[in-house]
């Protein structure tokens, strides 16, 4: 990374032409930057500022805004709906992350050795990752249909009476977690597999010479050396987990009875169902603050458990 090098175009000769030359250089810089700077300003920076501004107002999207100061924020912090939205989001993460990580790790370990059809398996496991969220949510909603659904039929064969899944407040969140873990399993597997393959073979050889086998080798060699990949997976999954929306909106719309009302679903409802754009904006910034804090905490904590070879 070389950030500070002299402009290749500015040798100190021809002093007479320097202003024109400088102007031309500025033009070149602008030419390269404006195609991204203009859309970034219009469609990211301006909305960011507008969102902060909106969050300080009461606004139903129709009549003029009314100043509310930090009113939206203080209201949200004491609000039962906010608390349960964050709680549901955390429940989602608590179910999803361990499931997708352990499944992905298991598969990565299995596929890390030579095996007939390994590339085919890898491609199959990755298939749900490239499938759109809406398709995945619909397929699983159908599989988990309480009446005539495939999963309950299969459970019935085992003598188990299947639950109402996404129609049942207790089982709606597990349904979403199941579909999410199924979709992202291949992603986690690919990341961890790449991490496993980056571990130099000598480490394993050295461990074998020292008499370490199986579990011990995993505990003291593989897992620590895999920690950078684990860290990446955990950070990305947590960010995505806090922002979970697509699958919830398609499978349950936050229901039944608000049982899966996650934070982004709440932002959506506040805006487009209840016309409370100010409160919705404040909630989205609250969510952003939480994600930023959690990510920061992990970056801080990584020093203690992530080993860079």
């Amino acid at each position: 990374m070389t950030m500070t090098a002299a402009p290749p175009e500015a040798p100190a000769t021809h002093a007479r032409h320097a202003p024109r030359r400088r102007l031309r250089y500025a033009g070149t810089v602008a030419l390269f930057l404006l195609p991204s700077a203009i859309p970034l300003t219009l469609f990211t920076l301006v909305p960011m500022a507008a969102s902060l501004w909106t969050s300080l107002h009461e606004w139903n999207l129709i009549t003029p805004m009314e100043w509310a100061g930090l009113g939206n924020y203080t209201e949200l912090l004491g609000d039962e709906g906010t608390r349960s939205a964050f709680l549901h989001t955390l429940v989602f993460i608590a179910g999803y992350l361990p499931l997708v990580y352990s499944g992905g790790l298991g598969l990565a370990l299995l596929l890390n050795r030579a095996m007939a059809g390994r590339n085919l398996f890898r491609a199959i496991y990755f298939l749900p990752v490239i499938t759109s969220w809406v398709v995945v949510a619909l397929m699983w909603k159908w599989l988990l249909n309480p009446a005539g659904g495939m999963v309950n039929w299969a459970l019935g064969l085992l003598g188990v009476q299947g639950p109402g899944w996404w129609t049942d407040p207790t089982w709606a969140m597990p349904s979403i977690i199941l579909a999410s873990a199924w979709k992202d399993l291949g992603f986690v597997m690919i990341i961890l597999l790449a991490g496993l393959q980056a571990i130099p073979k000598e480490y394993h050889d050295a461990a074998s010479v020292d008499g370490a086998t199986g579990l011990k080798r995993f505990r003291y060699v593989t897992f620590p050396l895999l920690s950078p990949s684990t860290f990446f997976v955990v950070v990305i999954s947590l960010i995505n987990g806090f922002q979970v929306f697509d699958q919830v909106h398609v499978m349950t719309r936050g229901g039944p009875g608000g049982a899966t009302q996650v934070v982004v679903e709440q932002v959506y409802d506040l805006t487009f169902r209840y016309g409370r754009a100010g409160t919705a904006s404040a909630l989205s910034w609250l969510l952003f603050a939480v994600v930023l804090l959690v990510t920061q905490l992990q970056v801080r904590a990584q020093r203690r458990w992530v080993h860079y070879g």
């Binding site: 290749p8 970034l40 095996m115 398996f121 805006t271 969510l287 930023l292």
Partner: protein, 268 residues
């Protein structure tokens, strides 16, 4: 013994991954009356394409498919061009305040779409752009992620290459197109994969900004289909099947590359 066990587990897992797709295909050709039959019918009698016909009557599905395809290609190309150019400026063209500007780009990377959805919607409404192609495309004209990724790639191109071209009298545009771009092709391809996947799967923003079926993208079209045919899963699955097929064909050809791109992102 352990080898066979390992193989069995991997195989069983692969079946779990494939089964929902297979079941979607079977459901899509099942006639209405047989949908909720128990035990589920893997080879339905009177299998037919009636669900597909009804799908095409309910929504302009071919157009929706085409919308997703061209919006995906357009946003990927736009992002590639705008990001690569900015990346070149940040890697090769020093100017006062460059570090600060790059920090601004990086900062926007951290702001999630959810924060921007409401004001973006209002912005589009102000300019009368709700329910237009432009509105769907607007937030993905540029990508801070792309700028970051490609800047790393350009920084790794030895400077001797551009200096040689400079001596030959080439301007920055020439160097960019003829020297730098060909050398960062792998990074461009990686970013293209991510860009296309993100656009193809994007749901929240189209959901907010699009109303008319003729401007819908696939995720939105499918979700609205589900709203119309709540219990007619054969129609919903027919839509799902049609929408998976194009990306599946693409995936079969680009599979190695897609997976390598994702694997790389984790290694950094």
């Amino acid at each position: 013994m352990a080898r066979y066990l390992r193989y069995a587990v991997v195989l069983a897992g692969a079946l779990v991954m494939l089964f929902p797709f297979a079941w979607a295909v079977v459901t899509s050709v099942t006639p209405d009356g047989a949908l909720l039959s128990t035990p589920p019918d893997f080879t339905p009698d009177n299998a037919g394409l009636s669900a597909y016909r009804r799908l095409l009557e309910a929504l302009p599905f071919w157009r929706i498919l085409l919308n997703s395809a061209w919006i995906g290609v357009a946003s990927t190309l736009l992002q590639l061009v705008t990001s690569a150019m900015a990346a070149y400026a940040f890697a090769r063209l020093p100017f006062p305040g460059r570090g600060a500007l790059f920090a601004v780009y990086l900062a926007t990377l951290m702001v999630p779409l959810q924060v921007l959805v409401v004001p973006l919607f209002i912005e589009m409404r102000t300019f009368n752009l709700v329910d237009t192609y432009f509105a769907v495309l607007a937030p993905s004209i540029s990508s801070a992620f792309g700028v970051f990724l490609l800047r790393q790639a350009i920084a790794q191109v030895p400077r001797e290459f551009d200096e040689a071209a400079l001596l030959d009298g080439a301007g920055h545009l020439r160097i960019f197109f003829h020297v730098v771009l060909p050398l960062i092709r792998p990074a461009l391809a990686t970013f293209a994969v991510f860009g296309f996947m993100a656009s193809w799967n994007s749901y929240l923003w189209p959901l907010v900004i699009i109303r008319s079926p003729e401007f819908m993208t696939i995720p939105l079209g499918l979700a609205s289909l589900h709203g119309q045919f709540t219990t007619e899963w054969n129609v919903v699955m027919a839509g799902s099947v049609i929408s998976v097929v194009p990306i599946l064909i693409l995936y079969v050809f680009a599979q190695k590359h897609v997976i390598a791109s994702v694997a790389q992102s984790g290694l950094k």
